[in-house]
Amino acid sequence: MGEELNVSDILQGGNGVNEEDDDDDDEEAMTAPEVLQKLEEAWMNEKFSPELLPVKSNLVECMLAQINAMETNIENAKKADLRISIHRMEIDRIRFVVSSYLRHRLAKIEKFTSHVLQEEEKRRDTDAPLLSDAELEFAKGYEANLKSHLASTALRHMPTNAATFNDKEMAVLPDLNSYVFLRVNETTENVLVEEATVDVGEEIMDFEKGDQHIMMYKPISSLVESGAVSLI
């Protein structure tokens, strides 16, 4: 059974993990531990970023495939095997990360529905869509339900000239100026930490690997997406 449980083999056997990488241009297949590590980073970034980040479908699907393969292996193993309980515990841990990641995303989709759908429109056919297919379906359904709810509880009682949605006025947008904590993964020079305003000029800093900062999200949002920094 030891052989069967070597999931690194399953992974490198080519179930498409190597195409996943939108973060770095590394063409090599990632090992299961690397995928898990990336997923955990995506989880923390999603948890702390004020806006919805592009979905990491490949990481999620890869980990779910890993879990399924592992569960099949466990079923075939002898009941007394010490390894079973250990693998079960690990599966539970990974499931927690996956569900928490997806749940944070759903919360943002519910909060920023129309904004998210507009953004997705622009990105749908790029290699970094905002939403998974399932999330897109959920977002559309949620928006339709919300609108029909508001129409039936409030709008239909309004005088006709006030009985329409003002999408622009009602749209709830993420506040990109929210403060976040971050850790630097790759030394990055000349980071614009504050845009110039009327009273103060722009402020530029060098980020050294390992540094931790608290600052506004907006100036470093692209570094989160590129993986140069992680939100903590």
Binding site: N6, V7, R83, D175, Y179, V180, Q212, I214
Partner: protein, 188 residues
């Protein structure tokens, strides 16, 4: 966004510690990486979550990390008192590891009670320092701060408070410059 301390603990549980198993077992191919092989009586490195579990099932002894001894921690405490800044901790998860090991493996850790007290002293020193720095930061005109050596659990105890405070300050400043006219300054 808030994070529950138990989630910080969850991250800390990935840190490796040495255990001495009382069983033998070939390498286990976990999704997060291979562990083992295990030979009864020989130290082996495993993630903390597994160490805690095996200890609870009486399948191992825990080897305390190098830094979990009185001399090291006394020095650490002194260094923390002497420095105006945060000093680097022996582990970024020092409080979580201490908490978990002292809970499940007290019998494996010499002078556990004194260690608990020292770690708590260091924690209190650092949190007091953190609060004074926050006050200075809020009163300054700075829009960012470097927080090297602050651990995740320390950040987490002030996370919501500090980010809310700074967000509010930013709102009040942008009211002044007129750049925040469309923003609601809600404190959510």
């Amino acid at each position: 966004m808030a994070m529950d301390p138990s989630e910080v603990e969850f991250l800390a549980e990935k840190e490796h510690v040495n255990i001495i198993p009382n069983f033998s077992q070939d390498t286990i191919f976990l999704i997060s990486g291979d562990i083992g092989p295990f030979s009864a009586g020989l130290p082996v490195s495993v993630p903390l979550w597994l160490a805690v579990n095996l200890k609870q099932r009486q399948k191992c002894r825990v080897v305390p990390p190098d830094w979990m001894n009185l001399e090291v921690l006394q020095e650490k405490k002194q260094a923390e008192m002497d420095s105006r800044f945060f000093t680097e901790m022996p582990s970024p998860f020092y409080i979580e590891i201490t908490q978990l090991l002292l809970q499940c493996a007290t019998d494996d850790i010499p002078r556990a009670d004194e260690i608990r007290t020292l770690i708590k002293d260091i924690w209190d020193l650092r949190i007091a320092k953190l609060r004074s720095s926050i006050d200075v930061f809020i009163k300054s005109e700075e829009s960012h701060a470097k927080l090297n050596f602050l651990t995740l659990m320390e950040i987490n105890t002030v996370r919501e408070f500090l980010t809310k405070g700074l967000n509010h300050m930013h709102q009040l400043r942008s009211n002044l410059t007129g750049s925040g006219a469309t923003q609601s300054s809600q404190f959510l």
